[in-house]
């Protein structure tokens, strides 16, 4: 028994290290004497430890998939890859938090502590193999997120963001839990493995209950990844939160929620499940609405943070199309999209953050004539915007191509049509920002303080995959393709 437990723990090293890191940071922060001083040592330490987590995760990629802790948790290449994406996202957000003026100097360590906490919740969610673990993951993720969004505590929009997030989040988590309890009532189990077998035998009233309670459960996840109609909180929370937090929200909770959605869909909607047909119709409509609402609303925005918030809604709409097709290729497309989206989002938020720190606002105007002041940064930002819009030769195009490819393979031409129109709308608002940056005359001639050599170097390093994966995407696709899901 004890041997077995320790055997399992060896697969759980990334999570354990993260938990230890979080605890250490809590203690370390208490030992800081000058609360206003920059937390260089703490941040370097955090990055190093997260780097170790990352290495560990990469080593786990080739491991055979298995269930541990009495089927509560699955370690499979799929969850490992999602964890890699989330860990890089966390490292990126913590790096940004070190330089951002949006987070009070005295709260810099708090940000790291809670970001690592959210990461732990996300990891739990990504490899959840029963309903309870899944719910635990959602809650760990959410509660810390509420605090993160109101981190700028004397700012009205930030506290409003925290409040909104908590209210919406609490409600939807409650609904999801209600759904889960009914699912338990029908199946007599919370294990995914047992639910799959139970599903085949469903009929009559039980089937109706499962359908409704599954829908309720979907509310919880839909809210986390902010799909239509549960997206209302996103723009306000994104705008109100400090920029490092926003960039963090755009990546980690989203990827975790998507991973959970994919896994649950594979449980309930696998071959021969009675739910499949009605479910696919529903997700198609939700995806189409999510994309359209996200992209159309993004057009009118004047704040870049809000623009990125709405555009992230649009991207999630694209990503969940990979769920609809219910095959390995779909998962592969989602993972590739997630990987690319990670780098694009980080760069976009980095540059927005440094500019907004300089000018104290995040309107389009701060981007005016950036090309004349920082040509390299402006070119990278423009490239990232075109990549987000899905222009070759950048990796955003390949991500879009993969999604189109899986849905057209299944002959969903209608949704392909909607997605195509949405790409054009997306291009329009990204182009408007690119235009401001490159065609307009600059606002003053002073350099942007945030673009130090280190920061520029980091942005350039993050840009390499955006460009590289657009041309040589063979190996990354293979990586995403090997990340299969393991349920039974």
């Amino acid at each position: 028994m004890i041997d077995q437990l320790f055997g399992f723990l060896s697969y759980y090293v990334p999570e354990i290290i993260s938990i230890v890191l979080m605890t250490t940071l809590l203690i370390a922060e208490a030992a800081v004497k000058d609360v206003q001083a920059p937390r260089i040592k703490i941040h370097v330490f955090t990055q190093l430890v997260l780097g170790i987590v990352l290495i560990n995760l990469f080593m786990n990629l080739d491991e055979k998939p298995l269930h541990i802790f009495h089927n509560a948790v699955t370690i499979d290449p799929f969850s490992t890859l999602v964890k890699i994406i989330m860990t890089i996202g966390t490292m990126g957000a913590i790096f940004l938090s070190h330089f951002s003026k949006d987070i009070y100097p005295s709260l810099k360590s708090e940000f790291s502590i809670m970001a690592v906490g959210v990461l732990i919740g996300g990891m739990l969610l990504a490899s959840a193999n029963n309903m309870l673990t899944l719910y635990l993951g959602i809650e760990t993720l959410s509660i810390l997120s509420y605090v993160l969004s109101s981190l700028k505590r004397d700012d009205a929009t930030s506290t409003e963001a925290g409040m909104k997030y908590a209210l919406y989040g609490g409600l939807s988590a409650g609904v999801a839990l209600f759904g889960i309890s009914h699912l338990y009532g029908v199946f007599g189990s919370i294990q995914f493995v047992e639910m799959i077998t139970g599903l085949q035998a469903l009929e009559g009233l039980n089937l109706a209950i499962v359908m409704i309670s599954f829908l309720m459960f979907f509310v919880g996840i839909g809210y986390k990844i902010s799909v239509f109609p549960f997206h209302m909180w996103t723009p306000d929370v994104y705008q109100g939160s400090p920029i490092p937090v926003t960039s963090f929200f755009a990546i980690v909770p989203k990827m975790a929620g998507l991973a959970a959605l994919v896994r649950v869909s594979f449980v309930f909607l696998s071959e021969g499940s009675p739910l499949t047909i009605s479910w696919i119709g529903l997700v198609l409509v939700i995806a189409a609405m999510t994309m359209t609402v996200g992209n159309v609303t993004a057009i009118g925005q004047t704040s870049v943070k809000r623009l990125l918030a709405f555009s992230s809604i649009g991207h999630v709409g694209m990503m969940i199309l990979g769920v609809v097709v219910m095959n390995e290729a779909g998962v592969q497309a989602i993972l590739f999209y997630g990987l690319v989206y990670l780098f694009m989002t980080l760069i976009a938020f980095y540059i927005t953050s440094f500019l907004s720190d300089m000018y104290g606002t995040d309107s389009y105007d701060v981007f005016r004539g950036l090309i004349y002041k920082h040509p390299v940064m402006a070119i990278i930002m423009a490239a990232v915007l075109f990549s987000l819009a899905g222009m070759p030769p950048f990796s955003g195009f390949i991500a879009k191509f993969n999604i189109f490819s899986v849905i057209i393979q299944k002959k969903y031409y209608g949704i392909a049509f909607v997605a195509a129109i949405n790409s054009v709308i997306g291009l329009y608002y990204y182009m408007k920002l690119a235009k401001t940056m490159i065609f307009s005359d600059p606002q003053g001639s002073e350099k942007v303080i945030g673009f130090t050599t280190l920061n520029q170097a980091v942005i350039i390093i993050l840009f390499i995959p955006v460009l590289f994966l657009g041309i040589f995407w063979d190996s990354a696709m293979a990586l995403a393709g090997n990340a299969s899901i393991f349920i039974r």
């Binding site: 070759p392 030769p393 195009f397 189109f404 002959k411 054009v424 063979d474």
Partner: protein, 505 residues
């Protein structure tokens, strides 16, 4: 000889890197690097022409390297007779444009870097035989164009750049859906992004369900592709981006836009839409012919109404590309040959017109034939600028199709071809020629004859550089007007193969 396409395709990129590595203030070096690159590219395309085998319709100088194994995507290049002409045209126009851009002073480094990037992507579109590669180049081409129009354009440049970009992107995204649908329809395992393998009417039996309605696969995706290419040509009613883009673009970019980029649209019909969906193409010939006819007549009337000389030439492009569409819709040997020839000839003659307008603009800083306040913009230029007037006459008459100059041959061939199929349309289209002559001659009268406008007193005639880069185009329109065989021989076999294919449906 096998790697020569690689060289032509990547040389401009190497030149671009050279430009980027040159310090910003050494504008002379930057210009010389660009000139050297475009000159070598032009020489290479001549070498290509000399080694080209005109007796076969097979793809030549083929390069094929696997790129993405999972989707069977290849880096697959090759040319046939049609692309041979386009390659030469592209190399020639970029060489000339480098010389004509010598006077660009704003941000020289970025300008020439983008120009070279544009050249490479245009070559890429013409060389690609892999659908994915084709699409990538088709889209990437938009980026340098967007910046070239948006940064170096006229006062309303941002609007024009965005409109151009969005319009083309709108068309091409549907093309992407079509490309992927073709990939899955063609059955996995084969090389199914391979344009050549998809050709020949393999999809006539399939159906598609879109929004609950059943369509024929072939027809639906023919129209998806049609949208992408028709916007590029541009065919009425998708032409509205063109006047804006042309008027706002700097001279060299206008030349490239009218000279080569519009040809990419008709090239798409020749290489992709017609051979892959022959049944749908034959069925839709009437519609294409009518749209072509409307472009001819409507473009010509619009041109007549313009006071801005550049806009006038832009609309004349719509009209002339309408002739190409008519030739394509004819689907006969003469019509198709005429269409391809018109693609080349319009490339040279319209390039002359835009270059000449650019030369005049550098002196007058406006382009009004009649200024908005009603006064004359020019007038009596012929007495002051003899060299300029001579070249202008050659360009203008080539444009309006005077016998003995290049435009005549291609238009005559198109009419020969289309008369066999659409008699009424031919008769109406001839009126288009008449209007064409009318607006060009009227423009010429207002600008070059009559009293000398005092504002134009101090204009200098063309300098040696300007004369030098106009010579190749003058030679081209005159020589190919009298003796078009070098062009016709090159494309004859390739065009014949397409006509034979379409005749089967």
């Amino acid at each position: 000889m096998n790697g020569i396409l690689n060289w032509i395709l990547w040389l401009p990129i190497i030149g671009m890197l050279g430009v980027i590595l040159t310090p910003k203030d050494q504008t002379k070096t930057i210009r010389l690097v660009t000139l050297a690159t475009t000159t070598i590219t032009l020489l290479l395309s001549v070498v290509l022409y000399l080694n080209f085998d005109i007796t076969t319709a097979e793809m030549q100088f083929v390069v094929k390297v696997p790129w993405i194994e999972q989707f069977h995507i290849n880096y697959f290049l090759g040319i046939d007779g049609i692309t041979m002409l386009m390659t030469f045209l592209n190399a020639l126009l970029f060489f000339i444009c480098t010389l004509s851009s010598w006077t660009v002073e704003k941000n020289v480094k970025a300008y020439f870097a983008l120009l070279l990037m544009l050249q490479s992507t245009v070559f890429g579109v013409f060389f690609s035989l892999d659908f994915f590669l084709f699409y990538v180049y088709w889209e990437v081409m938009l980026l340098p164009m967007f910046f070239l129009i948006g940064i170096w354009g006229g006062e309303n440049r941002e609007y024009a750049a965005i409109k151009f970009f969005l319009y083309t992107f709108f068309g091409s995204i549907f093309m992407l859906v079509g490309i992927i649908a073709l990939y899955y329809a063609s059955g996995k395992g084969v090389d199914s992004f391979n344009i050549l393998a998809l050709q020949g009417g393999k999809f006539t039996e399939l159906t598609v369900n879109l929004f609950g309605t059943t369509f024929s696969f072939e027809h639906l995706f023919f129209w998806f592709m049609f949208l992408g290419f028709a916007i590029k040509v541009p065919v009425f009613p998708f032409h509205t981006w063109l006047p804006h883009a042309h008027v706002q673009a700097p001279t060299a970019v206008s030349v490239i836009l009218a000279g080569v980029l519009l040809k990419m649209g008709t090239y798409g019909f020749l290489r992709i839409a017609f051979p892959i969906f022959p049944q749908a193409a034959v069925d839709s010939a009437d519609i294409i012919a009518v749209l072509g006819l409307i472009s001819v007549i409507y473009g010509a009337f619009c041109a007549m109404a313009q006071d801005d000389v550049k806009k006038l030439v832009a609309y004349s492009s719509v009209s002339h590309m309408g002739f190409v569409m008519l030739g394509l819709a004819a689907m006969t040997t003469q019509g198709m040959n005429g269409a391809v020839l018109q693609m080349f000839n319009h490339g040279t003659s319209t390039a002359m017109m835009f270059l000449l307008i650019g030369i005049l603009y550098e002196r007058s800083h406006h382009r009004w034939i009649v200024k908005p306040d009603g006064s004359k913009g020019y007038g009596g230029l012929s007495t002051k600028l003899p060299k300029y007037t001579t070249v202008f006459i050659i360009g203008m008459f080539a444009s309006l199709g005077l016998p003995g100059l290049s435009g005549f041959i291609s238009e005559a061939l198109i009419f020969l071809g289309i008369y066999q199929r659409f008699t009424t349309i031919t008769v109406i289209a001839v009126i288009g020629l008449l209007i064409g002559a009318a607006y060009l001659l009227w423009m010429f009268k207002r600008m070059f004859f009559g009293e000398v406008n005092p504002e134009t007193e101090d204009y200098d005639d063309m300098n040696a550089r300007e004369v030098f880069y106009m010579i190749p185009l003058c030679v081209a329109v005159i020589v190919f007007g009298i003796y078009p065989s070098p062009l016709l021989d090159v494309m004859k076999v390739s065009v014949g193969q397409l006509v034979d294919l379409l005749a089967k449906f």
